[in-house]
């Protein structure tokens, strides 16, 4: 889902950066407040960020014969809420843009919107949706990771289609083309991320019940 440096026209890059910036600032404020009010959960927050760090570094083979990577933002979105993940995702993307020549600074805003804003929000809403329909927590976590992963790549495809409409078929044809490249490859990887995220949540429930309870009381306090 990394749009490479220079591969968004300047106007598009500027607009996506302007849209993404408030989300990251809001996420930074939310994270500062979270760690100030609940110092106990600092390590859990670090682990949630690390999960996204690891998963987005793993380029995995897919049944389409190409490779792509999961995002790892679904777990944190469910645990801490999507705003916190906007900041964490931005940090991951900045690291990759500066040190790995993956993504870029001018495309950082667009990439933050897909991986760190749209993905986490989709994950969070999926989790809440499955829970509201009385689905089990494991199913909710699974769907959060799967949908968050897929939506990230759908947004990337949309961003590219808007910037590079198909010469013959326009934006729609371009969207179908980019979805064909990104989304199809992503389906098995999204399922994989879903399974891993359920395991991660199981481990947290088994060993870190106190930290999860701390987060839960905070969420109730916020309501």
């Amino acid at each position: 889902m990394h749009i490479m440096e220079g591969y968004l026209p300047a106007a598009h890059a500027a607009v996506w950066t302007a849209i993404a910036a408030p989300f990251v600032v809001h996420g930074a404020r939310r994270l500062t407040r979270l760690t100030a009010e609940r110092p106990q959960v600092r390590l859990l927050v670090a682990a949630g960020g690390a999960y996204a760090f690891v998963l987005s570094a793993l380029k995995l083979p897919s049944v389409t014969g190409s490779c792509s990577h999961p995002t790892g933002t679904g777990l944190g979105a469910v645990l801490f809420g999507p705003p916190v993940m906007a900041l964490m995702g931005a940090v991951v993307l900045l690291f990759q843009a500066l040190l790995l020549a993956h993504g870029g600074l001018t495309t950082l805003g667009a990439n933050v919107m897909s991986m760190a804003v749209a993905g986490p929000w989709a994950a969070y809403l999926s989790f809440r949706g499955v829970r509201a329909l009385r689905g089990s927590r494991s199913l909710a976590v699974f769907m959060a990771a799967v949908v968050g992963n897929m939506v990230t790549y759908a947004v990337t495809s949309t961003q590219l289609a808007l910037a590079f409409p198909d010469p013959a078929g326009g934006v729609w044809a371009a969207l179908v083309k980019f979805l064909g490249i990104f989304a199809v490859t992503q389906v098995p990887l999204a399922v994989m991320e879903g399974l891993l995220t359920v395991v991660a949540m199981n481990l947290l429930t088994a060993h870190s019940g106190d930290d999860l309870a701390e987060l839960a009381t905070m969420r109730e306090g916020a309501r």
């Binding site: 390590l43 690891v54 190409s66 198909d166 994989m192 019940g209 106190d210």
Partner: protein
Amino acid sequence: MMARNLMLLAGAVLIGVAPFLMTFETPPTFDGTDNRGREAIRRDHPDYRPWTQVLWTPPSPEIESLLFALQAAIGAGVIGYYVGLSQGRAQRRDAGADARSTDTRPKVPHASC
């Protein structure tokens, strides 16, 4: 729970291995979708010129894989530290609770002191 987690992990591994067990019409290259996206832009918009360059590119594929491995290692290290710490805390708390509930010795101080 342990068995269930192992089954979920086995499922994830299976999905990861599946592409190598399949047969393809054309031999798969397993290149990155990010690059394929860029190739599609180049093909359909040959006039487009990237207007900025990355500030720094890893000088070789080896250095690049070093940095990717480093990214995964740092993340895995943080996760491992947290999981280990939490497990230790939980064990210590359970052990403390067990000791209190099974402690049948009289709670009176020694008569000799």
